[in-house]
Amino acid sequence: MIELEFTPHGALPVWGWEIAVYLFLGGLAAGAMILASLTKVTRWFIFVAPLALSVGMLALFIDLESKLHVWRFYTALRITSPMSWGAWILLLIYPATILYGLRPAETLRRLNIALGIALGAYTGVLLATLTARAAWSSLFLAPLFLVSGFSTAAALAMLLPLGEEERQRVRRWDLIAIGAEVVVLGFFFLDLRGGAALFFGGPFTAPFWSLVVIAGLIVPAALELVESRRHIHVAIAPTLILIGGLALRWIFVLAGQTAI
């Protein structure tokens, strides 16, 4: 039901959960790449990136009308098309992450950070370039999805068995990411102007503020602060962040298709 081909005269297709999952896993992969490169101790975490990306693309692929047309993306690189960039970035990520995981080297590390940022931003840029959609018409969507992706990756890391020191480090990064996410959200809504009405009184107000902000950002941040003070760790904070991240992308995908 969803065709991912953009034709200049074609109507925008209806986007559903597959796109939301794809964006979520793409953000997670991007965040994993950055997190694994920044904090050397979680280096093995980098394998999450190709894994998440594959599952995400699978979700997308299942939904493609014309599956065979995917190869067309690789016959050229259209500089002005974010989808074209995206296809090539995705291709490069596999070797970059796997090589880095097997043999960490400085250049690979920097490449991973760069690719991670590119991937994270790409998911936001993709939606943001479709300026006809009120909820997507701000380029702040790119840093928003990037920061959110980083936060979800940190959350995933916290669900895995980590040493206490590692955990503290990851937790600190996550708290920074949550704070950054709140700030970027602020800029995003200011830049969005009219479209922001969807989230301030419009139909997406309640799910956005309850699921994404309260359940996905504020409560887990509070829990993490308590955790770091008392040196305990519970699975609920990271779980809430992951759910919040998925909810963020799902709500935005739906909101973008809603007229104000």
């Binding site: 309850s210 359940a215 305990i232 609920i236």
Partner: protein, 171 residues
Amino acid sequence: MERSEKFWNPYLAGMALGLVLLATFLIMGKGLGASGAANRIGVFIAERIAPGHVAANPNLASTKGDRASVLDDWLVFEVLGVFLGGALGAVTAGRFGAKIIGAGNISVAARLMFAFGGGVLMGLAARAARGCTSGQALSGGAVLSVGSWIFMLSVFAGGYALAWFMRREWS
């Protein structure tokens, strides 16, 4: 894993609860609740699995009303908050952790069966009574509804009546 036994004094906790209840009354003109949300979640899941069946049963289909989603309801959002608040309370008191309570004298399997079975009974009962202890007893009781008080006293009666039979679980 138990870390802390610090619980609030029941009278103070009751007053705090009463104030939350009062705030709900005055700000929203509604009472608290839980079972209404459980019903909606059930319908939501059923809709995903067997939409035809849901449409065929007016008792299920009518839950949605004229809203876009059956989950679009005050109680569902409130229950989300209850979950978050409970987590916050548990974590800050050091009481969070995967555990099973009440499997001291009976097997884990038996405990979980009782948990599920008791839950089913409560689900049925709450629909009949148009509410559970949060909605009917607390909210309805505070506004002195006759049905709520009948319900509340019956709940205690039922609990005490069955207590003897469940004594091994709770001794």
